[in-house]
């Protein structure tokens, strides 16, 4: 009966108007980690429900551009590819790029797409863009399978540099989460983001050495190109696969940028999160 209920001396939660920057409240995110898992699982299950090709789409996404780019740039334009066959060179760039573009695109749309959740129940909102990024990561892992097949096909030897791959994937995930989370919050207030983001991503792809090696870029432009934090990821991704020397400076810069972006995005998100339910 009611008398059995013992209440804590202090309130476990106080709700009052917030001002300025809010704390990140990471313990609450940790407490809801199972929700992150279930939302990711839902995203993956739903994406390929009622498609006849199913998860093969995860492979087709980087594979088709690879074929097109190989024909036009590899065969016709004779684009140099740092000593590996152009097809696998392009795939090794398109793979991390597709992951990044999907992760950013999906998470940017995720909060608005979850308006029925946002207006009906509370949980740390960061989980929503987080789950979208993780779901894209699963696609990446599947598409990575084809890369392994291609590497075997082209008889590219296994290098010890492969051990860097997990680290690079973590770095790229951090970067995608930062960018995606920031845009997901911005989309709630400014739906323009939905229209602008595809352009941004398209331009971003062309300033990242995906279909061309950064070695063809003149040194004085290289510095500007290196301001793109994705460059350190893609360049080193290839280096790890093909056993080439790492680009340490770019890697360090990318890591610093990714962390900065994530922290900035997380605080901005928390700040904008307050009005989500009212303005979504």
């Amino acid at each position: 009966m009611a008398e059995l209920v013992t209440l804590p001396d202090r309130p476990i939660l106080v709700l009052q108007p917030g001002k300025g920057w809010a704390s990140l409240d990471l313990p609450a995110v940790w407490e809801h980690r199972e929700l992150l898992y279930f939302l990711t699982l839902r995203d993956i299950k739903l994406r390929y429900k009622q498609t006849s090709l199913g998860v093969i789409w995860a492979i087709i996404q980087p594979l088709f551009p690879m074929i097109v780019f190989t024909l036009f740039f590899g065969r016709l334009a004779k684009m140099p590819s740092d000593g590996v066959p152009y097809a696998i060179f392009a795939y090794a760039g398109l793979l991390p790029w597709t992951y990044f573009a999907n992760a950013v695109g999906n998470s940017a749309a995720s909060v608005v797409g979850s308006s029925s959740l946002v207006t009906k129940v509370y949980f740390p909102r960061m989980i929503i863009p987080g789950a979208a990024v993780l779901a894209a990561l699963v696609d990446f892992v599947i598409a990575f399978g084809l890369l392994a097949v291609l590497m075997a096909w082209y008889r590219i030897p296994i290098h010890s540099t492969l051990v860097m791959l997990p680290l690079l994937i973590v770095l790229e995930t951090t970067l995608a989460l930062g960018v995606g989370m920031f845009f997901s919050a911005l989309t709630v207030k400014y739906r323009d983001v939905r229209h602008a983001l595809p352009f941004l991503l398209q331009i971003w792809m062309f300033v990242t050495p995906i279909i061309f090696p950064s070695s063809i870029v003149p040194p004085r432009w290289r510095l500007i190109l290196a301001l793109n934090p994705l460059m350190g990821v893609v360049e080193n991704f290839r280096a790890a696969l093909f056993g080439q020397p790492f680009h340490w400076k770019e890697l360090a810069f990318s890591t610093a940028m990714a962390l900065l972006l994530l922290v900035f995005a997380a605080y901005s998100f928390r700040r904008m999160e307050r009005t989500f339910a009212d303005s979504i």
Partner: protein
Amino acid sequence: MQPILKVYGLGKEYLIGSLEGSESTIRGALTRAFRSPLRALRGGGTERIWALRDVSFDAMPGDVIGVLGKNGAGKSTLLKILSRITEPTNGRVELYGRVGCLLEVGTGFHQELTGRENVYLNGAILGMRKADIARQFDEIVAFAEVEKFIDTPVKRYSSGMYLRLAFAVAAFLESEILLVDEVLAVGDAAFQKRCLGKMRDVSASGRTVLFVSHNMAAIESLCTRCLYISNGRAEGLGVPHEVIGRYLSAEAMPRAAAMSLESHPNRQARSEVLMRSLLLTGDGARSAAAIRMGGGLSIEVKYRSDQRAFSPVLGLVIKNNYGLSVFGINNRIVPGFQFETLSREGTITIHLRDLPLMPDTYSVDLHFGDPYFDYDVIYDATTFEVLTSDVFGNGKLPGAECGPIFWPASWTYSPAPQ
């Protein structure tokens, strides 16, 4: 005993706006910034309304508080603040227990996922742990009665099965404070009864429930206290019976309670205009176009004739929503109510006591005349509403399929000798 929930001076202001369309585009923000830089920075230029203002109350463990109010009064805003979905503009809430929130059943349910997948996803969204869901999974499924279809996508479910499963997950939420918004408005009668039973169990176990509903019978039978919100302000907190009475007299469709009959569109073609105005009065002499089941209703008509004096006769026919006549009465046929005094002008009132009408909207045909003839007839002169009430004191009512009338009855029983 110490309250589990304290609410002090809670307020929520919304921006609504003249600038709506341009508000949420970058272009809109930029143009405003150029036109009036200071105002744009302060976020001014839009209209503001207080959805909730200066609301204070406490809830004790085991309390079931019914929240009453018209649509748009601020009930849902209150629940949204308490559940952290939105922030208050001012005031403060102290929570001494975990909050579970059911603003709708089946939040996050997805058509393409199976029942099993949805139970886990929905449970996680509501803040349940995977291990807890797994432990109670069989109970949840049994409560929802969907054992056979648990691995079928919910898009193949009937709407009843869908709602039962959705409510079942929520019913197993183990938070100390439960916020419930209108979930009982769904599902068939049998399932609603089970939900009510489940909510009784919840409060019996010492947990606190805040319960928004338009179902007065449910509120009256479940709640220990009632909070009545009008225009964002708390207008009353107290015993359900009293608060419900105040709510009904204050809010329920005052528009139709008093009206002029001078130029009524439904007046029969050859009628003389004799009936001038109409006033509906509920129990306790409050003017109201809504009464509770079993309550009384008085219908007052003022008449005036320029030609002759009347010994007035007023009759009415009450019809339900489908236009079916439920009953009619006039003082020509009832002995003792023939009025001898002739007058060109006067007020005549029909008093209907203890109306055994089921909840619905009813319309009233008015017939006015003298002992021989009806001179003025208005069809569907007005409507009134009969609201659910816990007439039997146990939260149960006859089903709507039984007809428009409920009738008090008693039973005798003599078992056959063994």
